[in-house]
Homo-oligomer: 367 residues x 3
Amino acid sequence: MLKSVWLYACTVAHIKNPGDYFVFELADNSIIIVRGRDNEVRAFWNSCRHRGAKICLEQRGRAPRLMCPYHQWTYGLDGQLLAARSMAEDFDKADHGLSPVALENVGGLIFICLNDNPPPIDRVKADIVDQIAMYDLEKLKVVVQDNYVEDANWKLVMENNRECYHCDVGHPELISVLGTTGFGKDAPADDYLEGKRAEWQSLGIDRDLIEFPDGWWHRVARLALANGAVTQSIDGKLACQKLIGPFTQPETSSLSVWTQPNSWHHFCCDHVVTFSLTPIGPDKTMLRTSWLVHEDAVEGVDYDPDNLAALWRKTNQQDGHFSAINHRGIANDGYVQGPYALEEKLVDDFKAFYVSRAKAALAQVQS
Amino acid sequence: MLKSVWLYACTVAHIKNPGDYFVFELADNSIIIVRGRDNEVRAFWNSCRHRGAKICLEQRGRAPRLMCPYHQWTYGLDGQLLAARSMAEDFDKADHGLSPVALENVGGLIFICLNDNPPPIDRVKADIVDQIAMYDLEKLKVVVQDNYVEDANWKLVMENNRECYHCDVGHPELISVLGTTGFGKDAPADDYLEGKRAEWQSLGIDRDLIEFPDGWWHRVARLALANGAVTQSIDGKLACQKLIGPFTQPETSSLSVWTQPNSWHHFCCDHVVTFSLTPIGPDKTMLRTSWLVHEDAVEGVDYDPDNLAALWRKTNQQDGHFSAINHRGIANDGYVQGPYALEEKLVDDFKAFYVSRAKAALAQVQS
Amino acid sequence: MLKSVWLYACTVAHIKNPGDYFVFELADNSIIIVRGRDNEVRAFWNSCRHRGAKICLEQRGRAPRLMCPYHQWTYGLDGQLLAARSMAEDFDKADHGLSPVALENVGGLIFICLNDNPPPIDRVKADIVDQIAMYDLEKLKVVVQDNYVEDANWKLVMENNRECYHCDVGHPELISVLGTTGFGKDAPADDYLEGKRAEWQSLGIDRDLIEFPDGWWHRVARLALANGAVTQSIDGKLACQKLIGPFTQPETSSLSVWTQPNSWHHFCCDHVVTFSLTPIGPDKTMLRTSWLVHEDAVEGVDYDPDNLAALWRKTNQQDGHFSAINHRGIANDGYVQGPYALEEKLVDDFKAFYVSRAKAALAQVQS
């Protein structure tokens, strides 16, 4: 299923300069996402066209060219084969460039698809770009990246992400900043929200809620933060003094983007945090979380990395525990599927997406 | 096969008070065995009826109610659902209690069966209760529990338990206490046993040997200990000064119970030791050994835990080694099944039980 | 496939004296190779004929008899069952000797075959004996043995061994001693080689190159060493002062033997190094490297073990890295098989051997 849908991989800020690469891994698959000398971002299979060796061994790096460490076949940043020693006379380098992988740049969020016939992405792209363009991801930099392996099946970690029924008890730190706004319960009073929307209009950041349009796979919502918080930090205070996007003053809201089946993102006035989720195996899942700040922000002056990451790092660990006990519980022969709570509607949406795409992928295989 | 037979799980002493629970695990399955406020012992699947999360995370514990740590669905000790937030109006708590698992209390030994139609247990129960009731397990407490993972398939560990052909060389410590009585070789002289039986009659502890009655799965035998030993301890001396059951004086015999396919137990005049064996995977097996003494015995005064456990801890390690080399040896393509020695009759009995139940389970699946 | 071909296991020097045994392991299979009191070398399945336990638990050892540690069934070094306690009256020891495995001694290199109908080996034997007999392996001793687990499929490690296209960059230490002689590139000048061959003739060590004769699976070549090296050591200098075989003076060449599908060997004037490669699992491979010197050589006087092993130990580690990245790269769904370089002809030969034997093994299974 995961090989026939668009998957979020990283942001343009992860590969800020020509030659910067980011390796995205999905179970045994490894894909190089690299920025070319022409500033274009491209994706290639991380496998040499000679004997298939892995080319980029680090998860992130920078290189003037992509050289296979086994026999030194050397490729340009655009995937063209530049050099290969001792080949037969009829060998044509033009036939042996790196194999490309479909890639879309969605307002700075990089999505890839491992299938040669990727499904449509146009409406997702239009809707998300409209909402996040103002944050200008090209002007940000990645200052913290956590790679956290969860002891649970990827699907369960996704389901955990799609509901906040567990938040009140499970995420006290997060709830003190987020409230439960947007999750259908204890919503802020209407008049407060009216005031906020007026403020958002004056700032030019007011947009309609987008909630998994029929047949599509994205949700975008501006959330009013709680308890006076101006960002998603452990104390609700600015985590970076240098503001981003259109903001010149701290702003008590954040914009969130969720995509099926593997990502979510929060855009605050001082930083952006993005999450990608990929299976390592049936009972191991990689959650990669990246924190981005303004490219001119200075560590130790404008931001402290540990403080910046503290809220979601804590939340990730709590979710890792929940997903792990969920995984172990449903492994029982005696497990019976139960009913969702009112606050778990988005879990059902995720499940519907998963089932429909899995059926489609299966039909494609069988035909 | 293991899911359609009765399996020994623990004793009533493992869950001595209301709210005490014991988690029995069989490969991916996890079952909560819990004592209710009404003192009844019940078994439930360790999986919340909401999203299936594991409820009891510790192997043993005590709780006033069983609360799922994920979304706080809360169950009584009798499995009834007491609380669940934010459910739809038509949600009925009465339909969502914990799923029960069949359980039988056999004179204080708790057996469970994962199948909804458990096989008969009545004769096993009658026979075992008749012999062990005098030890009154409700009056004992568990003071040592070892969880030992063996690098061997569960079936091989069972076969190892069913013969003492390996004991003379393999278990010098055990043999010095047990002799080889009851294993068909070097049995004590008849007149010595006659004298012992007269003594047992006067104590009211004499019973007939029960040896896997046709179609059943239990064996019970009183063993005359060797070399003057009064209990199964490393030096043959009392391991707990407070005697149990009907005993007011040290007694040079012990009562042993074996059940197919996963347990054995030894009842001495000063303590009881029980063993349960469950597969973790095809090449990993959990041997759980528990040592029980009188509930009024005082650690450091009446008994020393390490001394109490020393004999069988040593024996378990030796058996773990034997099972592991057996496992590795039969993995060879060149392995050929060989003949049993005269002293290995009970291995054959175990194999016959296993094959008949496996065939029955297979037939049930196929019908 | 590997169970129907001849596999290199060890040398006669690994089991120098009667009672010496060497345990060869292939995935779950374990074979005892043992020298008898009659000096014959035999192979047996490492599984007791009683309950199948593993008999020899150490990888190498010496024993007057082979006794199963489980129930002490005892076998002679020729595999005959000598003792078994408590068996039924009709038990015949003659029927329960250790199960033999096919074995051939090829000039001191021991090959075994796990199939009861091994393929022909006569030409391989004649050709290799003709070339290596002069090194008289019975007069050598094993002084270093490395067991190195590679994170790669066995087939990839073999392919890596069959080409030196990766050597120039990947093995600087090896190349400084070997040059690239024999690998088709930068070969020594013809007149130099002419001079060498004249010298080899005078020493009686000149033989024709044997290069995987049609339908066979061996290659033998004398290589002129480079840069004045007289052996395959890290500095090209003698690694053992006591010369072997016909040599009375250091000699700037070495003889190499490669066999499909699991070995290679280098015979120098002062030592021999042999390699066997066996799968542990689909992504783990055991490379066993042994270094042999004259039986009269004295450690610390004639040779230093670490210096003796340094060159190939370093080379093995480099190859382990290459094989691991090759393994990970071809695991990609996007992996495409590429063309071989001119210097990779022997990889193709290996692949052809593998495919033909795999097809034959499959046909045998299906018939």
